[in-house]
């Protein structure tokens, strides 16, 4: 199917986007939402299942206390009100990866509601209002066999693994977000990024988009400039990375803009994002509107969180990422731009840990945002996934500060650590990466270099002190980088009888 698109700028000239985001977060509890099965990612198929999560006849759910607590903490971190009394509800629809053919979810009584978070985009603060945060259970996973592409469409049959069925899932739904305008894609991305960091700081989920523990549905509609009536929205699923969030919004704006400009209508539908092309395609249009027949779950009793307990949870919340960033920025004395760059690179926690391990903030930042960011970029991994720790970086900065290493040697040490050669000290030993501190050895090298570069030596002697650079370079080269350049310069000038 070909999709006509309009350029982003043209679409934005004519229309104003309204966003909405539904995010699912798999909680990192040890056991499932309603039974005691493990929640380990990647376990062999159907090894983490029991009568309850397989929906065997007669089985019953019992809610996981930790999941309830985590959901309330998420709600509190998102500035939500916490329900004084609420119930689980059954959402009824048939699907082979959902064992009971109903999902235990929440309907009109979410655990948390009416919150907000602020995100920063291009130096502007945008407030995203949260409609609700509720708790539900995940489904199993189908693999489609036969057909062309392993896709569901055209498959001969499917095989289902229910290990994931029943893992606690928190759904976070924003209110419609108007006013993001041209920054809509960036706002969407910033929101999901911020949510992810909040989840991490709360320690409630590992929020790995690539493993599906954080999943995002993106709603987009357009309204003509000057209008106040919102357009029909589409819901794009399968958005599996932060970058995809941004691209999916952009792509939908471009597609909808073209349809509307052409006098067409937007169909309210589910669309799927394709990582490879960066575009969305229509899901199968439903022949009839879904009727989920929600009703209160009779197998579970209502939740009535004790207000005193909720107050305790609130008081014990960790410093939230946005607050922490402001504090660290002040402590480290960084500009907004530098701080934003570190945020985008997911480097803040790493730098903080490196500082905590004893490194000066500037050095820590220099390494993570420089050499290591380059390495991560080259190998296509996240900064935090590099096989090097903040403690390693702190040790390297210590060695540089003590004069034992210079910058060039420090880079070699890092390379060794990244290659798995051991700790920085071990790499220094194994590779023999110590600055030449022996004055006799250095003096001998300098003598050789002066002899081999008599012209340059003469220039310096005659007062062209700038020419000493070439001689220092020669010494560094001859020592294979291990000489202390500053000390070499002093000695060269001494030997040539020149003073600055």
């Amino acid at each position: 199917m070909t999709t006509t698109k309009m350029s982003y700028d043209e679409a934005l000239d004519r229309f104003e986007p309204v966003l909405g985001l539904e995010t699912h977060v798999e909680l990192g509890t040890a056991s499932k939402m309603f039974c005691g099965c493990r929640t380990m990612f990647g376990a062999p198929p159907n090894t983490q299942v029991c009568p309850t999560c397989l929906a065997l006849p007669g089985s019953l759910p019992v809610a996981n206390a930790q999941a309830i607590e985590s959901t309330i903490r998420i709600g509190l971190a998102l500035n939500c009100s916490i329900a004084e009394w609420c119930r689980f509800a059954r959402k009824n629809y048939f699907y082979p990866d959902m064992p009971k053919n109903y999902q235990i979810s929440q309907y009109d009584e979410p655990l948390c509601f009416d919150g907000y978070i602020d995100v920063e985009v291009d130096g502007e603060t945008v407030r995203i209002e949260i409609e609700r945060v509720h708790l539900e259970e995940d489904t199993g996973k189908s693999t489609h066999v036969g057909g062309a592409t392993g896709r569901i469409h055209g498959a001969d049959y499917s095989i289902v693994d229910y290990n994931r069925a029943g893992i606690p899932l928190v759904e976070i739904v924003t209110k419609p977000i108007p006013g993001a305008d041209r920054l809509a894609p960036e706002v969407a991305r910033a929101y999901v990024t911020e949510l992810r960091e909040i989840m991490r700081s709360l320690g409630v989920s590992d929020v790995r988009m690539e493993e599906g523990s954080l999943r995002c549905d993106v709603n987009v509609s357009l309204m003509p400039r000057g209008s106040s009536e919102w357009g029909t929205r589409t819901e794009t699923k399968n958005v599996n990375s932060l970058r995809s969030v941004e691209r999916a919004v952009r792509s939908e704006i471009e597609r909808q803009g073209a349809v509307l400009a052409d006098g067409g209508r937007i169909v309210q539908e589910t669309r799927h994002f394709h990582e490879d092309t960066g575009t969305t395609t229509s899901g199968r249009s439903k022949e009839e509107a879904q009727d989920y027949r929600y009703f209160p779950e009779p197998d579970l009793v209502p939740i009535a969180p004790d207000p005193a307990w909720v107050a305790e949870l609130k008081a014990a919340l960790p410093e939230l990422p946005s607050v922490k960033r402001k504090r660290l920025q002040a402590e480290w004395g960084l500009s907004d731009l530098d701080m934003q760059a570190m945020h985008n690179a997911d480097a803040i926690d790493l730098v903080e840990a490196t500082v905590a391990a004893g490194a000066p903030a500037a050095d820590a930042r220099k390494w993570w945002m420089g050499e290591l960011a380059r390495r991560a970029n080259e190998s296509g991994t996240a900064l935090a996934e590099l096989p090097i720790t903040p403690a390693h970086i702190a040790r390297v900065t210590e060695l540089v500060a003590s004069g034992a290493l210079n910058d060039k040697l420090a880079r070699e040490v890092l390379e060794g650590v990244l290659n798995g050669e051991g700790t920085p000290d071990e790499v220094v030993d194994k590779r023999g990466l110590k600055i030449v501190n022996d004055e006799g050895e250095l003096s001998a090298i300098i003598d050789e270099v002066l002899a081999a570069n008599a012209d340059a030596a003469e220039k310096v002697r005659s007062g062209k002190i700038a020419a000493v650079g070439a001689l220092v370079g020669g010494v560094m080269k001859a020592s294979r980088g291990k000489a202390d350049a500053a000390r070499a310069r002093v000695l060269i000038l001494e030997k040539l009888g020149v003073s600055e």
């Binding site: 089985s59 579970l300 009793v301």
Partner: protein, 496 residues
């Protein structure tokens, strides 16, 4: 007296004293089952070797000095709606034919722990939906009093097995009267404990907010002993009450109503009630007064809407509970020819695997929950439920227990109401209110109707966790009537 005629308490005492082994007791009952089962059809599954294996294990535990309860070595017939690891579990449905659960229900586990020996799985209306056991996919069970009559339902296999001396005890589940009504029409004792007093874990759900496991026995004390054996808090059932089981055995031994305030539910009598049922009930009221109870009439006008409220709530929950029977993970699969979609196979399997009553209730429940109808039907039924619970509460301010006939009529002929759902539903008229309010209620025999010579049940209702009151009153009635009759009512039953 042969072993099969003894009470559960007596059998337990004999086994405990070493006078008879659990194996001998089980064999006597298995022989009785083999003898009369062709006439009764109370069981869906009997496996002599599995049962004798259980009995041998109990004898071994007793020999090794393990202290078991008063029912150790006593055999029991188990409703085929509780999961059992060693026997198939079908809920009397084609859709689960031959299914062998990989786990035991909590009730099953507790029976085993107490040393009871499971004789087999008893017949029921498919998924416990019905009042006659005619809705079983495996043929109806017959009433030992008259083989052309229904044994009640849904736990009709369990009531018939006990009435036919195939087992001294059996389990049932009561959603709208499925223990009390079969007990009444077969002349035995059947108790619906307080909702949440006995665990639903491993009980194949019909209507989650109503289903309650309970005991059947030929006398009140036996019922109380069984009640105590499998009841109590279960962390695997969120709706289970975390409180001690009321002292039902003590109450059954006490059997005394002096000074007790008894309320007769005004709405349950008169028009629509069989004269013979009404007559026996009136005598029971007089009997209670003669025993020192203070009897008053209590009006509960909203009870008239309990039946329609029930027929909205129960089908709504069942429409969702039975969605899991979809041919994907277990049970029947029909029409999977390699070209049909999962959706089509689900629909074909469910059409082939469920009987007419189950389909009717699934569709009724789907309707009641649909957007646009929810408020008028399911939502309103839930409000009526509150009104009924409040009416009970007000009544229990005035009296300690409420009484009524258990059923408006005695056992009706097999086939009579089979295709008339509305007539069938009337069988549960008097039992449903207690389910909606989660209250305790028992049925105890109170005589035979003059018209047909069939048993009549007296229902005694008590508030939440007032289970002991039910047993106390039932035991008093039983004691007085048996001394009048010169023995239990069941001795009047024709020989099989």
């Amino acid at each position: 007296m042969s072993l099969i005629q003894k009470s559960a308490a007596e059998l337990g005492a004999l086994v405990a004293a070493g006078e008879v082994s659990a194996v001998e007791v089980a064999e006597a009952h298995l022989d009785r089952i083999a003898e009369v089962e062709p006439k009764i059809n109370a069981f869906l599954h009997v496996d002599r070797e599995v049962t004798l294996g259980q009995a041998r294990a109990v004898d071994e535990r007793l020999r090794s000095g393990e202290r078991l309860g008063p029912l150790a070595g006593v055999p029991i017939a188990h409703k085929d709606i509780f999961t059992t690891r060693d026997m198939p579990t079908t809920a009397a449905s084609r859709i689960l034919e031959g299914w062998r659960p990989p786990y035991d229900a909590t009730v099953t586990r507790r029976l085993r722990e107490a040393g009871l020996v499971i004789l087999g799985k008893t017949n029921l209306d498919e998924f416990a939906m019905g009042s006659s056991t005619e809705n079983s996919a495996y043929g109806p069970t017959r009433n030992p009093w008259d083989l052309d009559k229904i044994p009640g339902g849904s736990s009709g296999g369990s009531s018939a097995a006990v009435a036919a001396y195939q087992a001294p005890l059996s389990t049932g589940t009561d959603t709208g009267g499925s223990i009390r009504q079969p007990a009444a029409v077969t002349g035995i004792v059947g108790m619906k404990p307080t909702y949440g007093g006995s665990s639903r874990y491993g009980l194949i759900a019909f209507a989650s907010s109503l289903d309650t496991p309970g005991p059947f026995a030929r006398n009140v004390l036996d019922a109380a002993l069984l009640h105590e054996a499998f009841s109590g808090h279960d962390p695997l059932d969120s709706t289970s009450i975390d409180a001690p089981v009321p002292s039902v055995v003590e109450a059954a031994r006490q059997g005394d109503v002096a000074g007790l305030r008894v309320g007769v539910v005004k709405e349950f009598g008169g028009e629509g009630f069989q004269p013979g049922v009404q007559a026996r009930f009136n005598e029971a009221v007089a009997l209670l007064e003669s025993l020192g109870a203070k009897v008053v009439e209590i009006s509960c006008p909203s009870f008239a809407t309990a039946l329609p409220a029930y027929y909205l709530i129960a089908p709504s929950e069942c429409s969702s509970n039975l969605a899991r029977f979809d041919a994907m993970r277990y049970g029947l699969r029909v029409g999977d020819d390699g070209t049909r979609s999962a959706e089509e196979v689900m629909a074909l399997t469910r059409a082939a695997g469920f009987g007419p009553e189950v389909k009717r209730r699934i569709m009724l429940g789907t309707y009641a929950l649909s957007s646009g109808y929810y408020d008028a039907y399911y939502g309103q039924a839930q409000k009526v439920r509150t009104v009924i619970a409040r009416e009970f509460e007000a009544a229990y301010h005035q009296v300690d227990v409420l009484i009524s006939p258990t059923t408006p009529t005695t056992a009706f002929p097999i086939g009579e109401r089979a295709d008339d759902p509305m007539a069938m539903y009337l069988a549960d008229l008097c039992t449903i209110p207690s389910n909606l309010a989660g209250n305790a209620a028992i049925s105890v025999p109170c005589g035979l109707a003059d018209e047909d010579g069939l048993p009549v049940g007296l229902q005694i209702m008590a508030p939440v966790l007032g289970d002991d009151r039910c047993y106390r009153v039932a035991a008093a009635v039983e004691k007085a009537l048996e001394s009048r009759w010169g023995g239990p009512l069941l001795k009047e039953a024709p020989a099989l």
